[in-house]
Symmetry: C2
Subunit: 164 residues, 2 copies
């Protein structure tokens, strides 16, 4: 039997991109920082997002059935912290940056490394979390290509220049 | 409509850990390099792995219903390449490194950053890929904590020392 703390410690060594996942609807704009995002298939273009059901934004994603995965670049640490902070409400979070829209109306971070605008096609409940299976219907890609990575409970940069 | 090439180009900017995912059974040991791995929940400890159904190893994972996610460290580029190479068979791939076992019998890379030994609990088909939902039943964690990251179609290092 694996203890929760041991699992979390081990998982902190699985490096990942840092993303702000957003949605919009009749209840306004909502979003949160998420690292559990991955590509599923390009036929059809699909990604998935894992989200804690206890997060304040969770119900809005369920209701709106749309989301945008905004992949953060190295300059976005502050935005990552804002969308992870329990002290800031939605309005305060979105004030930290400039936003636009693509197809679904979900907030698209103007200078994200890349943004995937999606329709949520399927939701699976797994323990405390929901796995959103999402069809990508629009993409916005920017420069420069310097990514923000979370590893061992700290931020790191990865640059376009090959390091190794 | 998103073209496959555009989707792949955009997804290359979603940084990720590099993992060798393995299984073992009556057909021997099998494994492949995978970046589409993420944590799902710690209650109960669960992760997921996305795998192309056309990969040579796929049928063995389905049959064995067990797998181990071996998270690679900075020194494992060669192992990553071996398990991604179509020119090497299973025997040739596993010869590249030293292996042990934990609970399920899936090959555990001895000096992986961390290894998650899992029972496959649920399999979902999404287009060309299978999403394996896996219960983690044993963990092996090593040092040093320098991780291998794939970003923008190149390897990068992230070190235990906080860079930013």
């Amino acid at each position: 039997m694996i203890e929760s703390a041991d699992f979390k410690n081990a998982m902190s060594l699985l490096a990942s991109a840092v993303n702000v996942v957003t949605t919009a609807g009749t209840s306004g704009r909502h979003g949160l920082t998420a690292s559990a995002v991955c590509s599923v298939t390009d036929t059809p273009p699909t990604l998935l997002v894992c989200m804690n059901q206890s997060s304040r934004s969770h119900a809005h994603f369920i209701e709106n059935k749309i989301l945008c995965v905004n992949v953060l670049s190295a300059q976005h640490e502050q935005i990552s912290n804002a969308f992870a902070s329990s002290k800031l409400n939605s309005e305060q979070r979105f004030k930290q940056a400039a936003w636009t829209e693509l197809e679904t109306g979900s907030p698209v971070l103007k200078d994200a490394l890349v943004s995937f605008d999606c329709e949520i096609e399927h939701i699976q409940q797994v323990g405390t979390h929901s796995v959103f299976m999402c069809r990508v219907i629009a993409i916005q890609q920017n420069h420069p290509k310097e990514g923000l990575v979370y590893f061992n409970r700290a931020y790191h940069y990865v640059s376009e220049v090959e390091l190794v």
